[in-house]
């Protein structure tokens, strides 16, 4: 296993710049998710790392070993030592599970001695040992993905690349498969990059989240940093829901339609304030004094069981979304009081769209 470093990687198709000057460092043994909407260039980025595509400029290095760029002749995919897990697994349909897992092992290890390695890999991805003789079409989608991961890990690759591996699974299976994959990667201290458009997947699995937009890498940070302190309001809106309100900042505070809020960093003058819905506290009682907050009328309640989303219209016409516990919640038409908890990120007009 080794770290992965991309420096100024650029790739175009005809007139479209699919990957634009991307610089990213994935530390040894860590898990990075590349998050972005469809068509943002994230799969192209993965294929550049795997060696299926060659960048126009920039370099890619596994540890100290530069595999392309810097005047180095691109190392072909078959000698790059990457594990590649595409969408829906792409297991070889003519081979059973054991032969799929042993596919990338050296010829001498593929025969009878492959048994131990196959068993070890099945155990790693939490599949029973008797699955070894099953054929791919006898496996569920989640099982196929686990076998695909086992196949990519068997030859001990430098880096494992996962291309939206859970997108074809239904919601329940997606969570359990993703957790099993995460555990297997952790146990083997594998450097891994997973691309996805699913923010929950990106935030819950990774050590580092890299957000892509229009071929560019707009932020790479820990999941909580990306969520709580997105680099711009567009990232804020893409990673989770966000209430963006205009406000006037004065040092550590700002005033907006929801009253006075505390900022993450001091600022001055007109700003856009990014407030997460779960920061908007809905008071069902009618407090008075300092804790009174701002009055509003509940327009709509979307109930999800564990929590609910409450759309509130303030007296000045501003619409505000709040996320609160599903145990006790208001009904449409109720009058409620709102106030903001925690720190709020402010963007100067130049940062705002």
């Amino acid at each position: 296993m080794s770290s992965l470093t991309l420096t100024g990687v650029t790739k175009s198709f005809a007139d479209t710049r699919a990957v634009d000057d991307v610089t990213l460092h994935v530390p040894h043994g860590s898990f990075t998710t590349v998050l972005g909407p469809s068509g943002c260039g994230k799969t192209t980025l993965l294929r550049l790392i795997a060696g299926f595509l060659v960048p126009e400029s920039g370099s890619i290095a596994f540890g100290d070993h530069v595999v392309c760029g810097d005047g180095v002749r691109p190392v072909p995919p078959q000698t790059r030592r990457v594990g590649y897990v595409p969408q829906e697994g792409a297991l070889f349909p003519h081979l059973d599970v054991a032969a799929n897992i042993a596919f990338g092992l050296p010829r001498e290890a593929r025969g009878t001695q492959s048994g131990d390695r196959v068993a070890e890999m099945l155990d790693l991805v939490e599949l029973p040992a008797d699955f070894r003789s099953r054929r791919p079409d006898e496996l569920s989608g989640g099982q196929q993905q686990r076998v695909a991961l086992a196949r990519s890990l068997a030859p001990q690759p430098a880096v494992v690349l996962l291309d939206e591996p859970f997108s074809s699974l239904d919601a329940g299976l997606r969570g359990s498969t993703a957790r099993a994959v995460r555990r297997a990667l952790e146990v083997t201290h594998t450097t891994a990059v997973l691309v996805t458009h699913d923010q929950n997947e990106a935030l819950s699995l990774a050590d580092q989240v890299a957000v892509m937009r229009g071929g560019r890498l707009v932020q790479s940070a820990t999941p909580s940093e990306v969520y709580l302190s997105p680099s711009d309001p567009q990232v804020a809106a893409f990673v989770g829901r966000a209430v963006v309100l205009p406000g006037i900042a004065t040092a550590a505070h700002a005033t907006c339609a929801l009253g006075q809020v505390v900022l993450t960093e001091p600022s001055d003058g007109p700003v856009s304030l990014m407030i997460r819905p779960e920061q908007v506290y809905v008071d069902l009682a009618h407090p008075e004094g300092e804790r009174a907050g701002v009055r509003g009328t509940v327009e709509e309640v979307s109930y999800y069981g564990h929590d609910c989303a409450v759309q509130v219209r303030l007296a000045d016409g501003t619409a505000v979304l709040s996320r609160m516990s599903g145990v006790l919640h208001p009904a449409a038409g109720d009058t409620v009081h709102l106030r903001v908890t925690g720190l709020v990120r402010a963007y100067r007009p130049a940062e705002a769209p």
């Binding site: 995919p77 078959q78 990338g104 196949r151």
Partner: protein, 489 residues
């Protein structure tokens, strides 16, 4: 190549001579015969194919599975064997009526099979939606089911037309002259190359009209199922008091299409005065048929691999043109391909005339589309992402081809070769024109016996031809429609 030959020839002889060759009462009569029979048979097979498909797939007709097998069975009887069966049973079966009955009974499965396949793929939710919107069963059929069946129905009917334009053996036995039989007569009796080729030009034009229609339909064919989720079968319609009359009707079709040839064949095998079982000759004919068919199958399948590889993995206008041009060959009657190869070889390389090599080349031209369709289905099952995965696991291009691509397309290579093998085994027209002197195949032996009215002598060969055709029919039934729609002309 055959097309280029006919086109060049027509240009070379000039318009006035061409007009002299074609503007004859005989040609007008042939044109009328050919078009009338084609239109009548296409209409009859369309009605029969859809009605039988609906009865078997969508009603509670007793024994539906058995009927399905029996209704497809005529595909295992080459049309010329069916023609022989009827003529040898009753001499009065001839002319337009005889040709209409025999051809319709031989070819209706070409409509029936794709219609059944389409009915099976139709999402019953579409019909249920129509019922829930207040449409009756009949109105739902007219407004929802029939439009979905249209591509299968018209595609099948057009194939019947193409087959009919190419049909030589059956129509010759039934004494109903069309362009194809006339071309053969011209070629055989007078060796009148000019007249034969001019008529071949008209035949090719007729085929191209049908082919254009088929390609247009193929282009806008839609998928029958929308969205995901498990497909359900449709609830069968209860026939009620119509059950037994309709069962009788289906039984009558099977009796005529399968029972008559089976009875006739058995009768000649058991009771024919000229019936004999010359084992040595039968064995020799079978042997040379197998050798020719095996060689043709290998050559044709190998030729299909690069065509398919280009079309699937390197899509572009050039690869599409190459792939499509092989389909044009599919619409060319064996007689045109045969004639083209005879004339071209005599003029350009006389040394190959009447060699097995030239015959194999004709088979490759005629049956390449079938190999292409089958091999293509296989290569599409081996998506490029599997190559990517194999590369990432350390396999170079050659190793990937050996360990991933070849094992995946091997079954389709085998199926393609098998289909071509069986098609060659029962091919009559090109074999008659091109086979080397002294080469006797099952088809040519059958033909020489039956055209001399030695029906009993023809019977063992007919039986072997039917036996050879059965595996191809079973294979086609198991494949999805696209291959089933591409039966030999």
């Amino acid at each position: 190549m055959p097309l280029a030959y006919v086109a060049t020839y027509v240009v070379l002889i000039g318009p006035s001579e061409l007009w002299q060759l074609l503007a004859r009462p005989r040609i007008v009569e042939l044109l009328r015969n050919t078009i009338t029979l084609a239109v009548a048979c296409m209409a009859a097979t369309a009605v029969l194919g859809v009605a039988l498909g609906l009865l078997v797939e969508r009603t509670d007709l007793p024994g539906r599975r058995l009927w399905h097998g029996l209704l497809v069975a005529p595909l295992a009887v080459p049309a010329f064997v069916n023609g022989y069966a009827w003529v040898s049973l009753d001499r009065s079966v001839h002319g337009f009526a005889g040709a209409f009955v025999v051809v319709t009974l031989s070819y209706y499965p070409l409509v029936y099979l794709p219609v059944v396949a389409m009915l099976r793929r139709l999402d019953p939710a579409l019909e249920e939606s129509a019922w829930s919107l207040g449409h009756s069963r009949a109105r739902t059929f007219r407004t929802v089911v029939l439009p979905q069946l249209r591509p299968a129905l018209l595609g099948g009917a057009l194939l019947v037309g193409l087959h009919l334009l190419a049909e030589f053996g059956a129509l010759s036995l039934l004494r109903f002259p069309t362009f194809t039989t006339a071309i053969y007569d011209q070629y055989g009796s007078t060796f009148n190359g000019a007249a034969a080729t001019a008529m071949a030009g008209v035949l090719v034009l007729l085929c191209l009209v049908l082919l254009m229609g088929e390609l247009r339909l193929r282009g806008d064919r839609r998928y029958a199922r929308i969205g995901r989720g498990a497909a359900r079968g449709a609830t069968p319609l209860a026939l009620g008091r119509w059950r037994w009359p309709l069962l009788g009707a289906v039984g009558a079709v099977v009796a005529l299409a399968v029972g008559v040839p089976a009875f006739s064949l058995l009768r000649w095998l058991v009771a024919g005065t000229s019936t004999e079982f010359p084992l040595a000759e039968l064995g020799a004919a079978l042997g040379s048929t197998v050798v020719l068919a095996l060689t043709g199958a290998v050559v044709t399948t190998l030729a299909a691999v690069p065509v398919v590889w280009l079309a699937v993995r390197h899509r572009g206008w050039a690869s599409t043109v190459i792939e499509r041009s092989t389909y044009v060959a599919n619409a060319l009657p064996g007689i045109v391909v045969g004639l083209a190869l005879v004339v071209a070889s005599l003029r350009l390389v006389p040394v190959v005339y009447q060699t097995a090599g030239l015959l194999v080349a004709a088979y490759a031209i005629l049956f390449l589309p079938r190999a292409v369709v089958t091999v293509r289905a296989g290569l599409e099952q081996a998506p490029v992402v599997l190559d990517d995965v194999a590369h990432s696991l350390g396999s170079g291009p050659l190793e990937t081809a050996r360990r991933v691509t070849l094992p995946l397309i091997a079954p389709s290579l085998g199926a393609g070769a098998a289909l071509v093998f069986l098609a060659i085994s029962t091919e009559l027209t090109a074999t008659l024109m091109l086979s080397p002197i002294g080469t006797r195949t099952l088809a040519t032996e059958f033909w020489s016996a039956s055209s001399e009215l030695r029906y009993g002598a023809a019977a063992p060969y007919a039986l072997l031809l039917v036996l050879v055709s059965i595996p191809a029919t079973v294979l086609l039934m198991r494949m999805d429609t696209p291959a089933a729609e591409r039966l030999p002309a």
